[in-house]
Symmetry: C2
Subunit: 322 residues, 2 copies
């Protein structure tokens, strides 16, 4: 079995100039779930179906799996600059710990490092892996841009929202599954099923994130409850509420959205409005729908211990507390 | 003959979301010398030596040539953010025309677009092209970091300076030559000669830039004379002056470096100091040395009209006015 944390630790950042590489080491050492490389390797295991699991075939997938993790962390680094976020995974962000220019330049190098890891993909698989990786990377940047655009738009539909989170969050997870499967030799149908699984757990994951931000347990959630409400973030909850509300409730909601000085009161009032409109139940049903689609995609794949792990992951997602 | 400007115009940026792609179109439409793609194609022509020049072989090089130009423009975009530069090629920079977050995110996408262009490199040449491209990109980021580091260092040697400009400027030009040659089927010796030519004209080019910033003709130079002196930029002129000066001249120079309120006087005094110390002649001799090395590298290559164009380019570089 490949230990993904060990493999990430083995990447060498003790290079010069230190100002370029130390922030990369810092970001990659700060933990995280390592979800994307784990999924890429698990997708490969599903396809290999017990064949050569700890041998060459899985090692072939490892560089791309690491590239996905490095890419993911690159996006966090640059997103934190753009969002002026001061803390990530309990540590100061790079632009706080160093400065903004360092965060930009080391982020750029991190993106290049992701492509450097792709050099180790078997040559016959490289052209398509590069194409898939580029599609993924493009989707993520487009999703980030849509997220920015939404902040300034008065009308965002739930369809728009789903497109945005699909690109910003799901595409990376879906392509992790797809690339892992492809390099391991998946058939076209298997690749499609792996992709769908990733896409739908990604969507379910993001919706659960929106729900937990309002309804999470402050003890287990890890950050303050109601942050999205305070800054009027266009989550599935807010968009559903705006869609469902009658004239009176809508006026009340818009009034609260213009309130910026009474956070605790605002969180309480908007949550009550959500409760009244059945917004949580609606979001949960969308989330469960996507979980079901993810599980259905698994049924079209070889059934083995790796498939079982993916099933457990999808089910846990819906009941997670943070 | 491939028209590089037409090929750049043919790249399609009319995609959604507009906020992501319009700045890319803006940067690529703002001109520039197109030096790097032209050099990649010319390197290929040298190697092809009249064989199949307008046919498939040169078309094989085009995607990588375009990737190099897109990459170069990506570096300008992010460098302008980091340097807070308001104008580039006579137009407002992206972070001024849009905003900083747009400049960061569209820059990221531009880097990804460079790698997307590499998808079109012939499959058998892709693994090594990707490796060379990544080496180049890493060098450029390391060079940029060294440039930033130098600002805060009290002691920078001329060797340090040469390493920095080699990475920041020359590596991209050298790899343009090398990648163009490689894809066209250069032998190892030819690739090495192409690389050396690029490296040395890059160094000569950067040194000439330093010289023109002080000694250029304001009418033809295109920007204000003495900008580097005003901000104490560690150019080859300043570093040579610091190295050559006796105690008295050095004290005078350091005194001027601490002066920030009398720009015109400072430019005049420091230029006079440079003149007294023979700094310009020294820089010119280093530049000529590198031009000679570039020309010597050409002698090791097939001699044809493309080689001749490279010879003319190297000679012009030394006498250019802007």
């Amino acid at each position: 079995m490949i230990d993904i944390n060990k493999e990430i630790e083995r990447l060498d950042w003790s290079k010069e100039p230190k100002g370029l590489y130390e922030p990369i080491a810092y970001v990659l050492a700060s933990g995280g779930k390592r979800l994307r490389p784990t999924l890429a390797l698990t997708a490969a295991e599903v396809v290999l179906n017990g064949g050569l699991i700890s041998g060459t075939a899985l090692d072939d997938v490892l560089p791309a799996a690491l590239a996905l993790e490095v890419f993911h962390n690159f996006t966090l680094l640059h997103d934190d600059v753009m969002d002026h976020s001061a803390v990530r995974r309990g540590k100061p962000t790079v632009h706080v710990q160093w400065n903004q220019n360092t965060a930009i330049l080391s982020g750029d190098q991190m993106l290049i490092e992701a492509y450097k890891l792709l050099e180790r993909v078997p040559a016959d698989k490289l052209p398509r892996t590069l194409r898939l990786f580029n599609e993924m990377a493009t989707g993520v940047c487009e999703g980030q841009q849509l997220d920015v655009d939404f902040e300034h738009m008065s009308q965002v539909s739930i369809d728009d929202y789903m497109t945005m989170i699909e690109k910003k969050t799901s595409v990376l997870i879906a392509y992790a599954m797809r690339i892992g499967g492809y390099i391991a030799g998946a058939s076209e149908a298997q690749e499609k099923a792996l992709y769908e699984y990733g896409l739908h757990i990604g969507l379910a994951f993001q919706i659960q994130d929106d729900i937990l931000d309002v309804y999470g347990d402050p003890k287990t959630f890890g950050k303050a409850i109601g942050g999205d409400i305070c800054c009027n973030k266009k989550t599935i909850l807010l968009l559903t509420a705006l869609e469902r509300a009658d004239a009176e409730s809508k006026a009340e909601l818009l009034q609260w959205m213009m309130t910026t000085d009474r956070d605790a009161e605002k969180i309480k009032a908007v949550t009550e409005l959500y409760d009244r409109l059945g917004v949580r139940e609606e979001a949960e049903s969308v989330m469960e729908e996507h979980t079901a689609l993810a599980l259905a995609a698994l049924d079209r794949l070889p059934q083995n211990t790796a498939t079982e792990r993916l099933r457990v992951l999808a089910e846990r997602l819906v009941t997670r507390k943070r």
